[in-house]
């Protein structure tokens, strides 16, 4: 009976560990897709802001998308999602308050950019876009590993 119980327990433990691991993997896939979406809109917005393409009419769409995508970045990083195929550094969870601040900066910067894109002067738009880039770079500097 004792052996049977311990067998059951270890099977249950293994299942729950497995579920947790795959849940972490799911979040990793989700946030990588979200980051790609952010990068896609940043790359497109950059071409417009720098005057490389004449698509001014689309800038607001990109800016609004960026504001929405950056509304709540911390939820993409649940505890335990630092294992597996991720470039997220452990520092995210070790320095959670700092990470939350970086996410709040991204939210603010993208909201400001959306406001500027909705009728601001070109210089205002350019500066707001620069601030968004700064927040991307600032967070990647502290919290993202390089490719390997």
């Amino acid at each position: 009976m004792k052996t049977f119980l311990s067998l059951i327990t270890s099977v249950l433990l293994a299942i729950s560990a497995n579920t947790q691991a795959s849940e972490a993997e799911n979040y990793i896939k989700y946030r990588q897709a979200m980051m790609k979406a952010i990068g896609g809109h940043m790359g497109a917005a950059s071409q417009i802001v720098r005057g490389k393409v004449a698509a001014d009419g689309d800038l607001l769409m990109h800016a609004l998308a960026l504001a929405e995508l950056n509304r709540n970045l911390t939820r993409l990083f649940p505890e335990g999602s630092d294992f597996g195929e991720t470039k997220a550094k452990e520092e995210i969870w070790d320095q959670w308050a700092k990470f939350e601040q970086a996410a709040a900066d991204a939210k603010q910067a993208t909201a400001d950019f959306a406001a500027a894109a909705g009728g601001g002067e070109p210089s205002q738009i350019a500066n707001a876009f620069k601030a968004v880039g700064k927040s991307c770079k600032g967070c990647h500097k502290d919290f993202r590993q390089k490719d390997d």
Partner: protein
């Protein structure tokens, strides 16, 4: 109106940019990043560098007389920066990038010294390096004599020459972007071609104009924009150590200097790999 000659002198001085020369060189040479520990005082040193040759800790280069370089003479500083010689006669490990800084002019090295002396002194005792058993400081003398080779001559075109000065002498880009050989020397044949084993175990990209592995498909504008903002052409932003370089150095350069760096990089031989 009696003071007009003085005012005129002041104006000439300001136009020549003498007040900012040292500060500009300080940014271009990227002193701050390596000589400041995480959450430490600026220039007080103590940042660890894990390398295949042990863990090195950057020294205090703030002008504190006891623990920094406050008692150094300008000549001692220039000798350290360009020739890797400490005031006590010993030789520095090349984790301190004097093989790059030796390309600096004495005037620029002196201006850097003057600027450092205007920084705030911070008291912080230097930490001994953690070296493997087979490595000792005295070996750096013969390393300098027998292994350190002569640098390549600069290009004759003035813009490319300025670019080379910014990339090689001040920016010391090759310290990370060029792989090292068995003796810790930059591998000349793979100049700026990247490495899989860079600082902090990170992969360092190839920045030669190779179309597949390097910057061959980037246009010049994108490269300049990257140096200014850290933005990659696909909308991603650089992170980690290169984000530090963008923050501390390349974003602070004049647009003309960034353009010279890009022109120089695009003039290089394309090397595939790593």
């Amino acid at each position: 109106m009696r003071h007009w000659p003085l005012a005129l002198l002041g104006l000439i001085w300001a136009i020549n940019g003498h007040c900012s020369d040292g500060a500009y060189l300080f940014d271009a040479a990227g002193c701050l990043g390596c000589h400041t520990a995480k959450d430490g005082q600026p220039l007080a040193g103590g940042r660890p560098f894990e390398t295949p040759y042990g863990t090195f800790y950057s020294p205090n280069i703030s002008p504190d007389p006891e623990t920094g370089i406050g008692r150094w003479s300008k000549d001692e500083f220039i000798r350290a920066l360009k020739h890797g010689g400490a005031p006590d006669g010993s030789a520095y490990f090349p984790v301190f990038p004097y093989p790059s800084y030796r390309l600096l002019s004495d005037a620029d090295a002196g201006a850097l010294f003057d600027h450092l002396m205007t920084r705030k002194p911070h008291r912080r005792q230097n930490r001994e390096h953690d070296l493997p058993w087979w490595l000792a400081r005295w070996m750096m003398k013969p390393w300098q004599w027998f292994l350190l080779d002569e640098p390549a001559p600069p290009p004759s075109d003035p813009t490319l020459s300025r670019g080379r000065y910014l990339v090689d002498a001040l920016g010391h880009c090759g310290e990370c972007h060029t792989p090292r050989d068995w003796a810790g020397l930059a591998d000349r044949g793979r100049y700026l071609a990247g490495t899989r084993q860079g600082p902090e175990g990170e992969k360092v990209p190839n920045i030669t104009p190779d179309r597949n592995d390097g910057l061959g498909r980037w246009d010049g504008d994108d490269l300049e924009y990257f140096l200014e903002s850290g933005a990659l052409p696909d909308g991603d932003y650089t992170g980690s150590l290169m984000a530090e370089v963008v923050d501390n150095t390349t974003s602070r350069l004049t647009p003309g200097d960034r353009r010279a760096m890009v022109d120089y990089l695009r003039s290089l031989e394309a090397i595939p790999g790593p």
